[in-house]
């Protein structure tokens, strides 16, 4: 899923304070799982902003609402009227949802309430960790199901680097060394000999560096 973190209230306030009417709009899928951007969080954020407006002595109407997903047209039907009437929208979706809305409602300012942080999992309640960077050419088959692109601070494909210490990455004692995990997994699945296969030079043109990517289903 996509993980996001709410921006500081001050930063959000600076974006929206010039408006008189703002719809605070949740996205109830990925970013709801991490309790940052769901419809419930939209409700809370709207009331915090109302309080802030009172403190600052300005009159702004904050209406909270939300839908299941801000990245697909069909989910917008029910809230169409509300959105088109808004002077501005503060979206609690990830960067994808914010942009989807900005394209869909071309004359309404759409502001992001979240910093979209990574693609990750829920390793335990309230703890989310990065697991993929959508590099476009998955190497998990070679690395025993542990991603070196997103989980190694140097994304080395033939690791570990010399900084790996007691299972931890050189950047921090709180970060696991992805290559230690890869080697442990290779060992566990009886494939340690694969370690000595040199990973060939990666084609990064399928990654971000190749430019914006898209995917079209034939005959759809």
């Amino acid at each position: 899923m996509i993980v996001g973190e709410q921006k500081p209230l001050e930063e959000i306030w600076e974006m929206v304070k010039q408006h008189k009417n703002v719809t605070v709009f949740g996205c109830n899928t990925c970013v709801a799982v991490c309790h940052q951007g769901g419809n419930k969080e939209a409700e809370i954020l709207a009331s915090l902003l109302r309080m802030k407006a009172t403190q600052e002595g300005v009159e702004i109407e904050f209406v909270d609402s939300g839908i299941e997903r801000q990245c697909e047209h069909e989910f917008f039907e029910k809230t169409q009227d509300l959105v088109v009437k808004s002077e501005a929208v503060l979206s609690l979706a990830c960067g994808i949802g914010v942009q989807f809305m900005a394209t869909k409602y071309s004359s309404i300012p759409i502001y992001p309430a979240l910093n979209t942080t990574f693609l990750g999992d829920v390793i335990k309640a309230g703890h989310f960790t990065e697991k993929c960077q959508a590099c476009g050419d998955c190497v998990l088959g070679l690395t025993a199901g542990v991603c070196p692109v997103s989980r190694c601070a140097k994304r080395v494909l033939n690791g570990p680097c010399g900084g790996s210490t007691s299972g931890k990455c050189e950047i921090s004692k709180d970060v696991d060394c992805a290559w230690q995990l890869i080697i442990d997994r290779l060992d566990a699945i009886g494939k340690l000999e694969n370690y000595e296969k040199l990973s060939s030079i990666k084609d990064w043109s399928k990654d971000r560096s190749g430019g914006p990517r898209s995917f079209i289903l034939e005959g759809f």
């Binding site: 140097k154 080395v156 033939n158 680097c161 010399g162 050189e170 230690q180």
Partner: protein, 310 residues
Amino acid sequence: MELKTESKLEKVFKSGQIAVTSECGPPRSSDPAHIIEKGHLIKNHVDAINITDNQTSVTRICSLAACVHLKNEGLEPVLQMVTRDRNRIALQSDLLGAASFGINNVLCLSGDHQSFGDHRQAQNVFDLDSMQLIQTVRHMRDEGKFLSGDEIKVPPKFFVGAAANPFGDPFKIRVPRLAKKVAAGAEFIQTQCIYNMDRFEKWMEGVRERGLDEQVYIMAGITPMRSVGMAKYMKRAVPGMDVPDELIERLQGVEKKQQAQEGIDIAVEQIQRLKEVKGVAGFHIMAIEWEEKVPEIVERAGLYPRPTFD
């Protein structure tokens, strides 16, 4: 002897002699005087001098320019190259540039993470990793081609080195990792600073079992301790460093004023012991901001005079 390059280091190894290298870090200024001075301090006592590439991710004169300064003084530089800051276009371009100045040696590294340095907010590149950089240099030299497949009219002829850390984790892949670097094309290896002698010798045993010492020239990394403080710091804060307590205790056992000399004595003893280890083909003496001590260490360890070739 069959030589692949013009490298003096290659000649020393292939003539069956123990090689000695050292390293210098370029200054954080556009004035090269300092690195030239450092080079002259050690030039008669080493066969080649590594020039670090923005080590610990702190911005300095680039390794290539500093190598050219030393080359102009008649010294033999080893161009260190990290893959942190440049993609394959820039790396191959710098390799051509270095070869155009007659630089004959390159050491392929991944480089410390930028969070250790002065620009923590920087992007890192890592288009290639250190193994792939080794492959790249060999490909350019031996196939005469760029990674793209295009031909290089006059290919760069580098003697190719890599680093190895016998003390990094996980220990079980330490020998396989060296085998991988050899398979990638490394011709000489400089190891991480050795303090835990037993563990190093155990690693060398594994290296010999696989016959790797016959395929690559291994240089043992030696860094003299200047004080107890330095030893403790290295133990605590430098990733991938193994500093045994006995060494700290030995330094603690002498007066503060004497600790630096004790550190030099330890380094000399280490070299003498490691000279007897089969498969150790040379020494890489990294006296960090203490280059003036390299001649003393080399002389006392019986590694002086250095060989000359016409």
